[in-house]
Protein backbone atom coordinates (compact mmCIF):
# COMPACT_ATOMS: atom_id res chain seq x y z
CA UNK A 1 0.00 0.00 0.00
CA UNK A 2 1.80 3.15 -1.16
CA UNK A 3 2.32 5.78 1.48
CA UNK A 4 2.41 9.44 0.64
CA UNK A 5 3.16 12.62 2.52
CA UNK A 6 0.86 15.61 2.50
CA UNK A 7 1.64 19.11 3.70
CA UNK A 8 -1.02 20.10 6.22
CA UNK A 9 -1.78 23.71 7.17
CA UNK A 10 -3.94 25.21 9.92
CA UNK A 11 -5.12 28.81 10.11
CA UNK A 12 -6.75 31.19 12.57
CA UNK A 13 -8.12 29.62 15.71
CA UNK A 14 -7.42 26.12 14.35
CA UNK A 15 -3.71 26.92 14.31
CA UNK A 16 -3.90 27.96 17.95
CA UNK A 17 -5.82 24.80 18.94
CA UNK A 18 -3.49 22.38 17.17
CA UNK A 19 -0.40 24.32 18.16
CA UNK A 20 1.27 24.25 14.73
CA UNK A 21 0.65 26.13 11.52
CA UNK A 22 2.26 23.52 9.28
CA UNK A 23 2.84 19.79 9.53
CA UNK A 24 3.72 16.83 7.34
CA UNK A 25 1.35 13.87 7.53
CA UNK A 26 1.92 10.40 6.09
CA UNK A 27 -1.12 8.61 4.73
CA UNK A 28 -2.17 6.01 2.21
CA UNK A 29 -2.12 7.49 -1.28
CA UNK A 30 -5.65 8.47 -2.22
CA UNK A 31 -6.95 8.65 1.36
CA UNK A 32 -9.60 11.28 2.01
CA UNK A 33 -9.05 14.69 3.54
CA UNK A 34 -11.43 13.54 6.29
CA UNK A 35 -8.80 11.04 7.45
CA UNK A 36 -6.21 13.77 7.95
CA UNK A 37 -8.61 15.87 9.98
CA UNK A 38 -9.55 12.84 12.08
CA UNK A 39 -5.88 12.27 12.91
CA UNK A 40 -5.48 15.76 14.35
CA UNK A 41 -8.93 15.78 15.95
CA UNK A 42 -8.01 12.63 17.87
CA UNK A 43 -5.04 14.46 19.36
CA UNK A 44 -6.96 17.66 19.92
CA UNK A 45 -10.60 17.22 21.04
CA UNK A 46 -11.16 20.99 20.79
CA UNK A 47 -10.39 20.76 17.08
CA UNK A 48 -12.99 18.00 16.73
CA UNK A 49 -15.58 20.35 18.22
CA UNK A 50 -15.02 22.75 15.33
CA UNK A 51 -15.55 20.08 12.65
CA UNK A 52 -18.89 21.46 11.42
CA UNK A 53 -17.52 24.96 10.82
CA UNK A 54 -14.21 23.93 9.22
CA UNK A 55 -13.73 24.02 5.46
CA UNK A 56 -10.90 22.13 3.79
CA UNK A 57 -8.83 23.01 0.75
CA UNK A 58 -6.51 20.98 -1.43
CA UNK A 59 -3.87 22.79 -3.48
CA UNK A 60 -5.56 26.18 -2.91
CA UNK A 61 -9.06 25.06 -3.95
CA UNK A 62 -11.93 24.46 -1.56
CA UNK A 63 -12.35 20.69 -1.34
CA UNK A 64 -14.94 18.29 0.07
CA UNK A 65 -14.02 16.00 2.97
CA UNK A 66 -14.06 13.02 0.57
CA UNK A 67 -11.40 14.52 -1.72
CA UNK A 68 -8.49 12.06 -2.18
CA UNK A 69 -5.01 13.24 -1.22
CA UNK A 70 -1.94 12.38 -3.26
CA UNK A 71 1.79 12.84 -2.92
CA UNK A 72 2.87 16.44 -2.57
CA UNK A 73 -0.65 17.77 -2.06
CA UNK A 74 -1.13 20.75 0.21
CA UNK A 75 -4.17 20.36 2.46
CA UNK A 76 -5.39 23.23 4.62
CA UNK A 77 -8.09 23.43 7.28
CA UNK A 78 -9.80 26.80 7.29
CA UNK A 79 -12.08 28.28 9.94
CA UNK A 80 -14.91 30.53 8.73
CA UNK A 81 -13.30 33.41 6.84
CA UNK A 82 -13.49 36.93 8.26
CA UNK A 83 -11.57 39.19 5.92
CA UNK A 84 -12.77 42.57 4.81
Amino acid sequence: MPVTTAKVLFFGRLKELVGVSEDAYELRDGAAIEQIFAHYAARCPQLAAFRSSVVASRNHEFASWETPVHSGDEVAFLPPVSGG
Binding site: S57, H60, F62, A76, P80, S82, G83
Partner: protein
Protein backbone atom coordinates in the same frame (compact mmCIF):
# COMPACT_ATOMS: atom_id res chain seq x y z
CA UNK B 1 -10.95 41.41 -26.16
CA UNK B 2 -10.78 38.04 -24.47
CA UNK B 3 -11.61 37.59 -20.79
CA UNK B 4 -7.93 37.24 -19.98
CA UNK B 5 -7.28 40.57 -21.63
CA UNK B 6 -10.07 42.15 -19.63
CA UNK B 7 -8.57 41.23 -16.27
CA UNK B 8 -4.91 41.55 -17.27
CA UNK B 9 -4.89 45.24 -16.32
CA UNK B 10 -6.29 44.54 -12.88
CA UNK B 11 -4.26 44.95 -9.71
CA UNK B 12 -4.73 42.31 -6.98
CA UNK B 13 -2.55 42.43 -3.89
CA UNK B 14 -1.94 41.51 -0.27
CA UNK B 15 0.18 43.97 1.67
CA UNK B 16 1.60 44.52 5.14
CA UNK B 17 1.99 48.25 4.53
CA UNK B 18 -0.53 51.05 4.89
CA UNK B 19 -2.95 51.11 1.94
CA UNK B 20 -2.73 54.32 -0.07
CA UNK B 21 -6.17 54.60 -1.65
CA UNK B 22 -5.20 57.11 -4.33
CA UNK B 23 -2.69 54.66 -5.80
CA UNK B 24 -5.45 52.13 -6.48
CA UNK B 25 -7.93 54.70 -7.73
CA UNK B 26 -5.29 56.01 -10.14
CA UNK B 27 -4.65 52.48 -11.35
CA UNK B 28 -8.23 51.96 -12.54
CA UNK B 29 -8.68 55.44 -14.05
CA UNK B 30 -8.48 55.47 -17.87
CA UNK B 31 -9.80 57.89 -20.50
CA UNK B 32 -12.53 55.38 -21.40
CA UNK B 33 -14.13 55.60 -17.93
CA UNK B 34 -17.00 57.75 -16.78
CA UNK B 35 -17.16 56.38 -13.24
CA UNK B 36 -14.96 54.97 -10.52
CA UNK B 37 -16.55 53.39 -7.43
CA UNK B 38 -14.32 52.54 -4.47
CA UNK B 39 -14.94 50.65 -1.23
CA UNK B 40 -12.75 51.46 1.76
CA UNK B 41 -13.12 48.91 4.54
CA UNK B 42 -11.63 50.29 7.75
CA UNK B 43 -11.01 49.25 11.33
CA UNK B 44 -13.93 50.12 13.64
CA UNK B 45 -13.35 51.00 17.30
CA UNK B 46 -16.07 48.70 18.61
CA UNK B 47 -17.40 45.18 18.10
CA UNK B 48 -20.55 43.75 19.69
CA UNK B 49 -20.52 46.51 22.31
CA UNK B 50 -16.86 46.09 23.26
CA UNK B 51 -14.15 48.65 22.64
CA UNK B 52 -11.66 47.37 20.07
CA UNK B 53 -8.00 48.28 20.54
CA UNK B 54 -6.61 46.94 17.27
CA UNK B 55 -6.97 44.06 14.81
CA UNK B 56 -4.66 41.46 13.38
CA UNK B 57 -5.31 39.88 9.98
CA UNK B 58 -3.74 36.69 8.67
CA UNK B 59 -4.23 34.96 5.34
CA UNK B 60 -3.54 31.71 3.55
CA UNK B 61 -1.62 33.96 1.22
CA UNK B 62 -1.28 32.01 -2.06
CA UNK B 63 -4.90 30.81 -1.91
CA UNK B 64 -6.16 34.26 -0.90
CA UNK B 65 -4.45 35.82 -3.90
CA UNK B 66 -5.91 33.17 -6.20
CA UNK B 67 -9.41 33.74 -4.82
CA UNK B 68 -9.02 37.52 -5.18
CA UNK B 69 -7.89 37.08 -8.79
CA UNK B 70 -10.92 34.85 -9.41
CA UNK B 71 -13.13 37.67 -8.12
CA UNK B 72 -11.55 40.14 -10.55
CA UNK B 73 -12.04 37.74 -13.47
CA UNK B 74 -15.66 37.14 -12.47
CA UNK B 75 -16.29 40.87 -12.22
CA UNK B 76 -15.41 41.26 -15.91
CA UNK B 77 -17.73 38.38 -16.78
CA UNK B 78 -20.66 39.76 -14.79
CA UNK B 79 -20.44 43.53 -15.20
CA UNK B 80 -19.62 46.02 -17.97
CA UNK B 81 -16.55 47.38 -16.24
CA UNK B 82 -13.07 48.50 -17.25
CA UNK B 83 -10.49 47.91 -14.50
CA UNK B 84 -10.39 46.46 -10.99
CA UNK B 85 -8.00 47.06 -8.12
CA UNK B 86 -8.34 45.05 -4.91
CA UNK B 87 -5.93 45.00 -1.99
CA UNK B 88 -6.17 43.51 1.51
CA UNK B 89 -3.81 44.39 4.31
CA UNK B 90 -2.37 41.80 6.73
CA UNK B 91 -0.75 42.05 10.15
CA UNK B 92 -1.63 44.54 12.90
CA UNK B 93 -4.03 47.35 12.00
CA UNK B 94 -4.94 50.31 14.17
CA UNK B 95 -8.37 51.91 14.52
CA UNK B 96 -9.34 53.86 11.39
CA UNK B 97 -6.82 52.21 9.09
CA UNK B 98 -7.90 50.64 5.83
CA UNK B 99 -8.02 46.84 5.87
CA UNK B 100 -9.42 46.31 2.38
CA UNK B 101 -9.72 48.62 -0.60
CA UNK B 102 -11.53 47.94 -3.87
CA UNK B 103 -11.80 50.28 -6.85
CA UNK B 104 -13.75 49.57 -10.03
CA UNK B 105 -13.88 51.74 -13.13
CA UNK B 106 -16.48 51.62 -15.88
CA UNK B 107 -17.85 53.70 -18.70
CA UNK B 108 -21.06 54.19 -16.69
CA UNK B 109 -21.78 54.36 -12.96
CA UNK B 110 -24.33 51.57 -12.53
CA UNK B 111 -22.03 48.62 -13.33
CA UNK B 112 -19.24 50.24 -11.29
CA UNK B 113 -21.47 50.41 -8.19
CA UNK B 114 -22.82 46.90 -8.69
CA UNK B 115 -19.39 45.36 -9.34
CA UNK B 116 -17.81 47.02 -6.32
CA UNK B 117 -20.59 45.75 -4.04
CA UNK B 118 -20.38 42.24 -5.49
CA UNK B 119 -16.61 42.23 -5.07
CA UNK B 120 -16.56 43.08 -1.36
CA UNK B 121 -19.47 40.75 -0.56
CA UNK B 122 -17.77 37.88 -2.39
CA UNK B 123 -14.37 38.62 -0.87
CA UNK B 124 -15.85 38.43 2.62
CA UNK B 125 -17.26 34.97 1.89
CA UNK B 126 -14.63 33.27 -0.23
CA UNK B 127 -11.15 34.66 0.44
CA UNK B 128 -9.20 32.84 3.19
CA UNK B 129 -8.36 35.78 5.45
CA UNK B 130 -9.00 35.88 9.20
CA UNK B 131 -9.38 38.75 11.64
CA UNK B 132 -8.48 38.63 15.32
CA UNK B 133 -9.99 41.36 17.46
CA UNK B 134 -8.04 42.65 20.45
CA UNK B 135 -9.95 44.15 23.37
CA UNK B 136 -8.85 45.54 26.73
CA UNK B 137 -9.65 42.19 28.38
CA UNK B 138 -8.60 39.70 25.73
CA UNK B 139 -8.72 38.74 22.08
CA UNK B 140 -11.10 36.72 19.92
CA UNK B 141 -11.16 35.47 16.35
CA UNK B 142 -14.00 37.23 14.56
CA UNK B 143 -17.10 35.19 13.78
CA UNK B 144 -16.55 34.38 10.15
CA UNK B 145 -18.50 33.20 7.15
CA UNK B 146 -18.46 29.71 5.70
CA UNK B 147 -17.28 29.64 2.09
CA UNK B 148 -19.67 28.04 -0.41
CA UNK B 149 -19.38 24.28 -0.81
CA UNK B 150 -16.81 23.15 -3.41
CA UNK B 151 -18.13 23.50 -6.93
CA UNK B 152 -20.93 25.86 -6.00
CA UNK B 153 -21.08 29.14 -7.85
CA UNK B 154 -20.37 32.09 -5.56
CA UNK B 155 -23.56 33.87 -4.64
CA UNK B 156 -24.21 36.89 -2.52
CA UNK B 157 -26.36 36.81 0.55
CA UNK B 158 -27.20 39.86 2.60
CA UNK B 159 -24.02 41.59 3.68
CA UNK B 160 -22.99 41.54 7.32
Amino acid sequence: MSEADNSSNDRVELTRSRIVAESYISHVRTPADGAIVAFDGCVRNHSHGRRTLYLEYEAYEPMALEKMREISVQLHEKFAIDRVAVVHRLGRLEIGETSVFIAVSAAHRAPAFEACRWAIDTLKRTVPIWKKEFFEDGAVWAEGELPPPPGAAPSVKSAS
